[in-house]
């Protein structure tokens, strides 16, 4: 407390995604769920993806955290929606941060949360796919 806040350092886009976050919610029939925590500040993100024909058909998120964590969560759902799975490699925390017109330096670690959640959701998706494939084969 009393060590300074960064309210005025946030870009308009960050504030927009913080106040009107896109794709908020949970998904009953998600094909992949990524759940990650940020060891620095205790932030927590859940990312749900629905995959159809090799594309992200739908995505939802829930995030516990500060303005930067919420804004990056919202932005990454916007960035991945409709993309093919192979295109998702390009969605790094740097891409998310740039799409938000930047973040205060001290808040950059928050953007890692979104990238990690995406990686975790994809990992979960591929694991489930593999399991289904095995079930079908047997």
């Amino acid at each position: 407390m009393g060590e300074g806040h960064q309210f005025n350092q946030y870009s308009q886009k960050v504030i927009d995604h913080f106040t009107n976050p896109r794709n908020v919610g949970e998904m009953e029939d998600a094909d992949g769920i990524g759940e990650v925590g940020n060891p620095v500040c205790g932030d927590m993100m859940q990312l749900f993806i629905k995959v159809k024909n090799g594309r992200i058909e739908d995505t939802k998120f829930k995030t516990f955290g500060c303005c930067a964590a919420i804004a990056t969560s919202s932005m990454i759902t916007e960035l991945i929606k409709g993309r093919t799975l192979s295109e998702l490699k390009e969605i790094t925390n740097k891409v998310v941060t740039e799409a938000l017109d930047g973040l205060p330096k001290v808040k950059l670690h928050c953007s890692v949360l979104a990238e990690d959640a995406l990686k975790a959701a994809l990992k979960d998706y591929y694991r489930k796919q593999k399991k289904e494939g095995e079930n079908e084969a047997s």
Binding site: M1, G2, E3, G4, H5, Q6, F7, F18, T19, P21, V24, E26, E35, V40, C41, G42, D43, M44, M45, Q46, K62, T63, F64, G65, C66, C67, A68, A69, I70, V106, K107, H109, C110
Partner: protein, 393 residues
Amino acid sequence: MRRVNFDHLSCSPLLPEAREAMLPFLSEDMGNPLSRHFLGEKPAKALEEARAHVANLLGASTEEIIFTSCGSESNNLAIKGVAYSYKKKGKHIIGSPIEHHSVIHPLKTLEKQGFEISWLRVDSKGNVNPEEVASLIKKDTILITITSASNEIGTLEPIIEIGEIARRNGVIFHTDAVACAGLMEIDVRKLNVDLLSIAGNVFYGPLGTGALYIKKGIRILPLIEGGIQEKGIRAGTPNIAGLIGMGVAARIAKEKLTQRKDFLIHLRDYLIDGVLNNIPDSFLTGERSNRLPNHASFCIKFIEGESILLHLSFSGIAGTSGSTCSSEALKVSHVLEAIGIDPFWAQGSVTFTLGIDNSSEDVELLLKELPKAVDKLRSLSPFGRRSRGIVRE
């Protein structure tokens, strides 16, 4: 938009009377009190008047007041000044874990320099136990430093009892009274303190002004060396206009102490009850009654403090938080940690400090806007009772 300041410990408005008194010293009466020519006369006289007002607010004599630039400087000067001055007598210091950073950091620096610091325990409401203070005193204890009230949780500490223990054992006692000055009656003789820090802005003087009471006979080594300003204990040209403003604010604070205190306690209780009744899964931090008259601090479960502050700020309400993400240092409040709050709940910390410029309408606005912000953030949170996600009780 209505602007509501519930962050008075960071910045309180300047009293018009203080501003009026300052203005001439920024224009026609500007001068250096140390000058031996006509330009120094008025500032020198006004500075001593200001000193008398501050002394009167604390029940001290004028020669016991040293002007500084802020509460943090006062704390640094008291702690390092005593440690360096008395190190031949001993190197043991007793401190509490709920001090302001301007006490904690100097103590840690001294620790690195070979001083031994004993950290007291505090209970879950932030109370220091005087008996523990007594039990920690050793032959080489030179200083006890304990805040009069934590700026983060508002709990009032048993300064009189600790003062008696310090006096009985011949140990120097410093208290950081920055959050208390002008809000609680302070009489340095009754408190048995040897050093006491205050800051002008907390009682509606200008920002960037402070003072340290140093009981006659206590030796202090200066942090800033140079000329003989402030008896050589704090060299350097002082912020004349600012200190004159602080003097006027101190005079008025003394006159209106009871009136302000009663007003603030009433408003504070309205706010505390309102928040606890309107926000499910929230709790107060610190003591309910034995706390600063203007202080209300909470943890709101399942959401994060900076996010709450930002939503409130959009609604014109200023508050503060001890959450990790609201600190530049990315550390959760050491005070909330010390009183044993689960670090997860500490992320939902919000603190409101009220002032004489607030009204019940301001509290009503908060009670309207805060639940909205909380609901919005909880709808985003993977935690909580309503979420199908992770539940934390």
